[in-house]
Symmetry: C2
Subunit: 311 residues, 2 copies
């Protein structure tokens, strides 16, 4: 497969990542099966200290930086990468600065601070935070961590693929939230390598469709604005290298409506007993919008984060 | 240790139990640390097909019954054991009948039926269901599964202890919901064997205190009534053999108020992103009621079930 990912490096990553993030639960959720008309397995990435899958990649970033003698890093984050880097950096004595938008969910900003990172808030959307983080890293001459572009973030996510590849087979579908693309390319690469008959379907909100439009056009398509509750996957400027990888591994990329995302969150909470942030409900939303496509099949959905307010 | 439990049998149980129930997440939850004033690790027993720890013991019961040529079993259940036996029995072609009280949480009764078990409802509390199940098993001449008395139910729970014993050390406390006693005696036996300096604290609702009163009196004490939202641990007639074991392994048994249980559930949901049924919040409730006892220490709480309605 002609992506930037490599199975040997992905397998080796398991030895570097703190075990608290590995081998997350994977199980059939019969209550969702009854509601959705297809067998649904949940890969639960929220039962760890940072409540999202980002710990896997953050561990790789932080351990390599520390091994190289680095002392500080800066990232832009919708909230979950920032928490994860703060957690992984603190354990290794690294200074972590997270640039986030002022409107990010309070629960995410609070946890970034609580994990000991410096938090810089900017007005505007995630792309403004990305630009500000790049400037800050340049000024300070420290490592800029770029989600989805930096290969460690993709390799970390790809370890999820190792854990689920044994449980899927031809005809099954894996539904992956699509934002910057680290999870989709990482998991997609492993699934397509180990279980090529499995359909890899990326799911993005209609309100933040840049990567999906790019995948369909086979070239980078940007959008001027975005509007979605799925803050964790909201971006406007796809990264060309990540798009190239996504074109190799994704069978489809679909867009879902906001009301489907909300319905998916509610179904995960009420029927599966799982707190899911909006991005983590994209897979269920995709089934809700196109039940005929999945009827009678087995789908795996990655519940990738739970950093949301319940009240 | 003079209990009915045996470390060799508990270790061997891991080979029998479906892996989907084993090696459940165990992690520090810093958001609870901030709120409770002590380091809190969560052992999460809800991320599996039956959403409670009861799958471990049910797997042992069902696999041994099937191996012995049995075809049917009957149990009384507050709801979680019934779901678990239904799940484990269905996979082995066993007929499962669950006797439950009509007032049990609807989500539990629905799932018992959905897993294919026959559900018999009785008026009254859990002790009425227990008596009815015993009658039914006698009439049908089939296996009666008695939670906490049948050693498989204790051994199943005890495998949780194997998974957490390596993460606790002298001065730490393990907080265990106390109902019939399977979890408290099973986990307690393993913890006291492998990490004797760890305090084993059982937690029960003030509204259903029979086992705690019995532990304190060192003899069976029954109650005439009970009243608690923690339906999963509500019983009035402690089993003598289980009490004998509990007296060997528990350092303390504490009673908590209903409002503390509700506050614990809310804290787990809002601060930890975890759906916990009332029984699963007893550990947090115990810390809330006596913060000084735990200040600065490390406590492990087993979030033992999530079968509750969120709405």
């Amino acid at each position: 497969m002609g992506t930037r990912l490599d199975m040997g490096r992905i397998r080796a990553a398991r030895a570097v990542i703190d075990p608290v993030f590995l081998d997350s639960p994977l199980y059939r959720c019969d209550a969702l099966w009854d509601k959705l008309g297809c067998a649904v397995s949940v890969k639960l990435e929220t039962a760890n200290p940072v409540r999202s899958f980002k710990g896997r990649g953050a561990e790789l970033v932080a351990s390599r930086l520390a091994a190289d003698g680095g002392t500080a890093m800066v990232c832009a984050s919708a909230g979950n990468l920032g928490q994860a880097l703060a957690w992984s950096g603190r354990r290794r004595g690294l200074d972590v600065t997270v640039v986030a938008r002022r409107g990010a969910p309070a629960v995410k900003l609070e946890r970034i601070r609580a994990f000991g990172a410096d938090l810089e808030l900017v007005d505007g959307d995630f792309e403004v935070a990305r630009a500000a983080a790049a400037r800050l890293a340049r000024e300070r001459e420290v490592r800029l961590v770029e989600d989805s572009l930096d290969i460690e973030t993709c390799e970390g996510a790809a370890t999820i693929g190792l854990e689920l590849a044994g449980s899927v087979s031809g005809g099954d579908a894996v539904l992956i939230a699509l934002g910057g693309g680290a999870m989709a390319t990482g998991v997609g690469h492993v699934v397509k390598t180990l279980a090529p008959g499995v359909e890899v379907i990326c799911v993005q909100p209609l309100g933040a469709p840049a990567m999906t439009l790019s995948w369909r056009a086979r070239r980078v398509v940007t959008t001027d604005t975005m509007d979605t509750i799925a803050d964790g996957v909201a971006g406007r400027f796809p990264i060309p290298e990540v798009l190239d990888d996504l074109l190799q591994v994704a069978d489809d990329a679909v867009l879902v409506r906001e009301e489907s995302i909300v319905a998916g969150m509610r179904m995960l909470l009420e029927d599966a007993g799982l707190v899911a942030e909006p991005s983590a409900a994209l897979g269920v939303a995709a089934v809700l919008e196109d039940p005929g496509r999945f009827a009678g099949r087995h789908v795996v959905t990655i519940v990738c984060g739970s950093n949301t307010s319940i009240s």
